[in-house]
Amino acid sequence: MAQMNMLHAINEALSIAMKADERMVVFGEDVGHFGGVFRATSGLQEQFGRDRCFNTPLTEQGIAGFANGLAANGMTAVAEIQFADYIFPAFDQIVNESAKFRYRSGNEFNVGGLTYRTPYGGGIAGGHYHSQSPEAYFTQTPGLKVVVPRNPEQAKGLLLAAIRDPNPVIFFEPKRLYRASVGDVPEGDYQIELGKADVVKQGSDITVLAWGAQMEIVEKACDMAAKEGISCEIIDLRTLSPWDVDTVAKSVKKTGRLVINHEAPLTGGFAGEIAATIQQECFLYLESPISRVCGLDTPYPLIHEKEYMPDEFKTFEAIKATMSF
């Protein structure tokens, strides 16, 4: 075990994967010599050469289309989109092409070797355009896997699994934790299975569910609830598509209550999907309505960022309200 931050863990995962797989290439805007604007790809060009870690021209549409082509021809492609806010110029290539390559061709062709890495989320005074959490747009697209790690250990294991998964994966990295989240990370090569939620803390009164950077927030809220005698079971969904219905349903059957937290706006957010499914799976076990604590239905504001955020205080209030329904 070594202590490291999330950027370091991601860098290590990329390096391990490139060493093990000589067909793997890493590319995107500024990722070459400079190592990416956040430094996630630092040193990879020096280690593996310019053919395997390089800058692309400034075109997300081009990066995604190019990545599809590489992967369709048997390469392992890891493309960085500099900010998740800038994934939309690549939307067509991702949702119409990456997602449907296998299906539309009867598996004559597929882009299973493709992973998109992209920093998402707010809390960094970035305003809209540097703060969005666009995961729900992608969870609605069959054929894509969507993964979000919460800390360095998870980031390394999940990224290694994503790169090796035989399906296109979008790996959303919580940028406000890049340097802030430091923790023990196992040495060497390991993978964390995709599609499996993680029960971070056992509890008996209520299930509190989140992913990525919001895990910190719900943990704080659950500490506040513990002081009021409420025992929270905390789940990190980790993979949003396909998501682990069984683990969540099992927990809710035990606690009878569920609060879901995400940073993206409430309407059309992934919490709605979870709530609908759990309501169906656990109807007779529910003691109160499923509650969602999410971003407002506005673009991500700059100056009112704190007010916009589904923070620990809002989550704590939702836990209490759900408990006393």
């Binding site: 805007e29 110029p89 355009y129 007010e307």
Partner: protein, 392 residues
């Protein structure tokens, strides 16, 4: 077959064209010592215009220096400078009519200043206070002002390019005697939107001036890793539009090219591409450190091509400026900017009610409900929301 614009010359052995086949000269009017080249055709410029141009350059330099300082002191969260590119930006803005529409990328504060954006307005935006025209919603430097026909900056690169084509086409349809100018960097010219915007402008015949600031870098990426062709200018030719490459550090060359581009665009209802060859003297933004990707020597070499100094020498040669006046303009703006910072940072942030405004023309029932719940929540935890708790 409707291949009318293609010529009919034929050859009978394979012969490829390459970027060297396309000769794109670079327009230069001002020499390093502030004299003009022999035979150079000067732009239309009198002492008053020259003074306004120079004044805008100095203001922008001072603004950049001071705001970078303010960012380092933690007073604002972010900043981007125009340092080294003032001639490209001011020279082009000065060739326009005030009713021409500007769609900028983000490094063109000088063109907004030229239009008359006040020091206070700059500060209100950067400090996200209640007087910010953008209501505190975007990061510092994302200015916009409808009164000055300057569209609000959007961070996603290249999106303004096809929009500019649309704005210009509407000017044509409405019979306005105006054009649109669209600024972007050579990096942004790699985006799909660039190709879409230029092609539509050329085919639909829109009076738009595409103005590329080719400043050598897109964050850390040098031009060699951005494009392999003959710069951005070759693409204008490829799309079938009037194109010119200018020395972007030469105020008179930029002014002359843009004046003529504007006249051409208006007269012919057609787009023009200007590629201004310049250099980003500063860092990409306040979050960037260029020492990770370029050498001090390279930067020092470009310091010698400082566009403001070159223009100043011309003004002095003409007898339109004295060294002493120059010092006093700097001083005036240093004081003005500093004073404006002090005022702007004390003003309150926009009221919380504005958080749900402008999502739609009127807030939806869901937004109103969310605001009501948010206010109830904030009154329970006032300490957690210091910016709004006192003013619900």
């Amino acid at each position: 077959m409707s291949n009318a614009p293609l010529n009919n010359e034929t050859v009978h052995r394979v012969s490829f064209l390459d970027k060297a086949s396309l000769h794109i000269p670079i327009l230069r009017i001002l020499q390093a010592d502030g004299t003009t080249y022999e035979n150079a055709v000067l732009p239309v410029i009198d002492q008053e215009l020259a003074a306004k141009i120079y004044d805008t350059c100095i203001f922008t330099r001072v603004l950049d220096e001071r705001m970078l300082g303010a960012q380092r002191q933690g007073r604002i969260s972010f900043y981007m400078t125009c340092i080294g590119e003032e001639a490209a930006v001011v020279g082009s803005a000065a060739a326009l009519d005030k009713n021409d529409v500007i769609l900028a990328q983000y490094r063109e504060q000088a063109s907004l200043r030229y239009r008359g954006f006040t020091t206070e307005q700059f500060m209100n935006q950067m400090f996200s206070n209640e007087k910010d025209l953008g209501k505190g919603r975007q990061m510092p430097i994302h200015y916009g002002c409808s009164e000055l026909n300057y569209h609000t900056i959007s961070s996603p690169l290249g999106t303004q390019i096809p929009q500019a084509t649309g704005v210009a086409f509407s000017q044509k349809l409405k019979g306005e005697r105006n054009v649109t100018i669209c600024y972007f960097g050579e990096g942004a010219a790699s985006e799909g939107d660039f190709h879409a915007g230029l092609n539509m402008a050329a085919v639909l015949k829109a009076p738009v001036i595409f103005f590329c600031r080719n400043n050598g870098y897109a964050i850390s990426t040098p031009t060699e890793e951005q494009f392999a062709g003959n710069g951005i200018a070759s693409r204008g030719v490829g799309y079938g539009m009037h194109t010119i490459r200018v020395d972007g550090n030469d105020m008179l060359a930029v002014l002359a090219a843009t004046q003529q581009a504007r006249a051409y665009a208006l007269e012919n209802n057609a787009p023009v591409l200007i590629e201004a060859m310049t250099y980003r003297l500063g860092a990409h933004s306040s979050s960037d450190d260029p020492s990770g990707y370029r050498s001090k020597e390279e930067e020092a070499k470009w310091q010698q091509h400082d566009p403001v100094k070159r223009f100043k020498l011309w003004l002095i040669n003409k007898g339109w400026l004295k060294e002493a006046d120059d010092t006093s303009i700097y001083e005036k703006y240093r004081e003005e900017v500093l004073a404006a910072v002090k005022v702007a940072e004390k003003l309150p942030v926009p009221h919380l009610d504005q958080i749900i405004e402008d999502v739609y023309d009127v807030p939806t029932p869901a937004l109103k409900k969310q605001l009501k719940e948010l206010k109830e929540h904030i009154s329970k935890y006032p300490k957690a929301y210091p910016k709004s708790a006192g003013r619900l």
